[in-house]
């Protein structure tokens, strides 16, 4: 990092504070390194922050400036950190996406992220380089409003968990398999984790599987790291439970035994309260739910997650809802939570459609406003030189080896390949049969850039289809960087002009992640008002690395005015900028 840039980064918060700009400066100093950890009682090398897993929680207030200096101590591996749900307005260089916003931060190198948190809600951060998120490299980012009374609901206390799925193979092994020919799939997870804790092939029931399972020799009370996470509650109080999913693969379903959940926030936006008794949560999503500890206070209850959307092969991930003053070790004797049938997609769709913008949210368009541009993205599984890929409009994403943002900012000096590859198509061939494997299974590779003029209103219709396997289509949660978007609708089958009539222009929720269901579609809208380069991709870790994404470049004529910190450079063609 150039010293002058470093100084700016260090001084900026001080200057901001000095001139009375609102918000505190929250400084973090994080050492990134491998650690041996046993999230599900089986030890494995993970990526930890300051020796912790999950990483430290950032707890901030709207308007705060977050400054995170990272030191990469992994001997040979590089890193970045993506701040999921942060729009990075004015700081597109801090988005933390390898080869999009920055060069990966190499071994022994430092990097300082700095951005303002401008929206209250439940967020998180995670690695966005290779499959490092699946190596345990993530943590919570909670943004509170300035006054709790600003929130359109009431609660006594809050709790927070991140859920995910877990494999015993290293992420290097997993990732190498994905681009092997023949294909080596990662398979279903070995365990499901709540706040980084689970149990491989074990039941938490005391009389349960531990003694019965030869595989589970390490599952016992002597491994503190895999003891179930405890959610302590005082009888009678109402809680806001924040739930975020960083799952690598699985669609998860959350249940709090014996308690209804009132959904009040999704991806950092208030929603009209909805009561559910189980909650589907897709990778990349976050929710706040309210519940009241109003059940029999003499016992504890299960909090559980199960796989939906794929045929489950993984035991329920469990935590303990601990009614104080019961000991947290008092395990429920009731059966562990059972979720709806994994392939009851109508149920999934119905629940997803329940989420509506809170009535306080002003929608800046009407049914007749229209958009400036509509992109139809057909989601297919294909092959590139025999290797299985995911593609959009038959283009699989092979990112530039020079960060896109630098490629735009220094477009003249770098003479990059930005112009070399044709822009991907805005739509797909009408009449494509989504119910069968692709007739032509072959795809082409592309850098995947859609360019938008500043302030263009963009609609994207994501259309799901059959994979390479007969009678198979999968759930894909799509996540957009740099923006929230309005979810105008979701449905089954092929999206046609008739479906415009069923879109929601009245109270569409603002999200940063939207599921697209098997053989179905989802429609989103956003305004390209954030100059920068923003990936839009399936949040399933292996799918993204198999090419399931596109790149949105916004206000490209403004990008040469951005001063990228030198710390963002040093790889690919940005080495051309080295002038000793």
């Amino acid at each position: 990092m150039e010293r002058s840039d470093m100084l700016k980064l260090v001084l900026l918060p001080i200057l901001l504070a000095a001139v009375g700009v609102q918000g505190a400066v929250k400084q973090y100093d994080w050492t990134i390194d491998y650690a041996f950890w046993s999230p599900d009682c089986v030890e494995k090398l993970i990526i930890a922050i300051n020796g912790q897993y999950p990483g430290p929680t950032i707890d901030a207030t709207v308007g705060d400036t977050i400054v995170v200096k990272i030191h990469n101590k992994m001997p040979t591996e590089s890193v970045v950190i993506h701040w999921h749900g942060m729009q990075q307005r004015g700081t597109p260089w801090a988005d933390g996406t390898a080869f999009v916003s920055q060069c990966p931060v190499g071994p022994e190198d430092d990097y300082t992220y700095q951005f303002v948190v401008d929206n209250p809600g439940t967020f998180f951060y995670h690695g966005h380089h290779g499959m490092q998120r699946a190596a345990g490299f993530y943590g919570s980012l909670i943004v509170h409003p300035e006054n709790i009374t600003d929130e359109p609901f009431k609660y006594d206390e809050e709790l927070s968990i991140i859920v995910n799925d877990w494999w015993h193979k290293s992420v290097h092994d997993q990732e190498r398999g994905l681009y092997s020919n023949p294909f080596i799939w990662i398979g279903e997870p070995q365990s499901l984790l709540i706040e980084g804790r689970g149990a491989y092939n074990c039941s938490l029931v005391p009389t349960g599987a531990v003694a019965n399972s030869g595989d589970c020799v390490t599952c016992n009370a002597s491994v503190p790291q895999c003891q179930p996470y405890v959610l302590p509650v005082t009888p009678g109080k109402t809680y806001r439970l924040r739930i975020a999913s960083v799952a690598s693969l699985s669609s998860l379903n959350f249940i709090l035994e014996g308690h209804n959940l009132t959904v009040v926030e999704a991806d950092g936006h208030y929603v009209e309260p909805v009561v559910v008794n189980n909650l589907d949560i897709y990778s990349g999503e976050s929710y706040s739910v309210l519940f009241t500890a109003n059940q029999d206070p003499t016992r504890n209850y299960w909090a559980g997650i199960n796989v939906r959307g794929r045929k489950p092969a993984t035991p329920t991930g469990l935590a303990i809802l601990n009614y104080l003053p019961n000991p947290s070790t008092l395990l429920p004797t009731t059966p562990t939570p059972v979720s709806p049938l994994w392939n009851d997609y109508n149920l999934s769709l119905a629940q997803a459609q329940l989420i509506k913008a809170h009535n306080s949210l002003e929608i800046p368009f009407t049914e007749t406003s229209g958009s400036d541009k509509t992109i139809f993205l057909l989601n297919t599984q294909n092959r590139l030189n025999g290797v299985i890929k995911w593609a959009l409009n038959n283009v699989t994403l092979v990112p530039l080896s020079t960060p896109y943002l630098a490629a735009y900012t220094y477009r003249r000096k770098l003479k990059t390949v930005l112009s070399a590859s044709a822009p991907p198509p805005l739509t797909y061939t009408p009449g494509y049969d989504i119910s069968s494997p692709p007739v032509n299974p072959n795809t082409t590779a592309g850098t995947g850039v859609y360019e938008f003029k500043l302030n263009e209103v963009v609609d994207v219709v994501i259309q799901n289809a059959n994979t390479l396997t007969v009678n198979n289509s999968e759930v894909h949660p799509w996540h957009l960087h740099g923006h929230d978007f309005y979810v105008l609708g979701m449905g089954n089958g092929v999206f046609t002009s008739k479906d415009y009539a069923q879109l929601n222009y009245v109270n569409p929720p603002l999200r940063n992640t939207v599921p697209v269901f098997p053989y179905g579609w989802s429609v989103i809208r956003f305004k390209a008002d954030n100059p920068g380069v923003w990936p839009f991709h399936c949040h399933i870790e292996p799918h993204f690395h198999m090419g399931m994404g596109v790149i949105f470049a916004e206000g490209t004529d403004l990008l040469p005015r951005i001063k990228l910190p030198a710390q963002n450079l040093g790889c690919g063609l940005t080495k051309n900028l080295i002038r000793p």
Copy 2:
């Protein structure tokens, strides 16, 4: 890489050829990526070159220019390649040592090595970043003289093998254990490999361990990658067998059942022929041995390697000496080779002392010439903040995060920490008791630079001592980059002024690696006539990464004149050189 530099690199060989400079240009294009491989019948993720393990052999003639363009396709890991035994005169930037000669080459980045091979002999290349050598990232580099008749010995054909030791744990797991507190040692290897092939816990004897070992389910003829390497010979002919060791940890002993070996070359220099029936080879060393296929031609013979210098816990690594026209699958029914007792160090020392410079080698000094500088390096095991380290004169090497060569070349612009840390001591406290664990086990960290004026003659006395464990001292093969050195002598106990009398100024061998035996010493001499920055370190992979090395900076006043390719930069403080 800067385009202009790239052009120079690409054009240079063409220009050289055009102006009639001797030697061909040999171009290689290597893709570095993980691969699933079963070197000992147990599958593991390794680092392969163009999908091969071991990497491709470079076969060149003295005077050739080698150009190797690498493409790093590992998703998150960086790489370099060190050309072991190449002196890199005039090309110190191409030495391929992470954070010494260059920044590691990041994911998706390219790098082009270019150097002249100026000495015939048996060499190799390997990763020199983290513990990547132990991940299988190595291969042979053979340099032939212009005329075979230039060699001081005769043979009909040649064969070549690289030997090493092998672990099932990933190198990331291994390395993380080494700097953990409490310490997690890598343990003894699971297998020994000859030319990348071995068998875990199996005997090659058909009636042997395969059927008896439950651990060895995968050891069978259906795994071609772990079938024993075959050395085919025609009865009556004489062979030059090249042997190099890239072992991570083990001192190895090589035996060719029923055949004496005549040592004729060591580390790229001819030696006075010596006949042995087993050959100790330390990590970083290479030898050529001659043997004649003059035994019973109706059968095949074992080639075997065993561990010496550590209590062996690993089966013999085996290959097949295949007397043609016998099938290579005709396994010997004789017992597998047995090496001398692992801790008979007097035998090891005696054999090491057998190696003398060939009488054609002119020694540029006499007993009375003296050196300009003598460095005494005391080899101890210590602790730094509780973590076990190796130290020299009580300084453990913690390399700069900016490549040393760039730090010297751009010394003014980078204002690096070169001057911040005091130079390490030239000697250690007289009277240090090498027979006991250190009285003060704590060490300090340092950048380890010894600076030399151009053409200074330097002697180094490496003194071994007891580790942190009572009654334990280990073998350490020390390797110098950028030079060969004269091995003036080796001995037991503390080196004292009396020992000068027993040094060899008459026919000391030129080597690039020298073993230092337990509780013993070795003395080397070299002339600092190669401007650059050169590591001198224990070639045992975990020992180097535990700090067992120093850095020799030569002709430092000349280094600012070197034009480093931009491809060497982009990490650490070299980002200060980025000027968009």
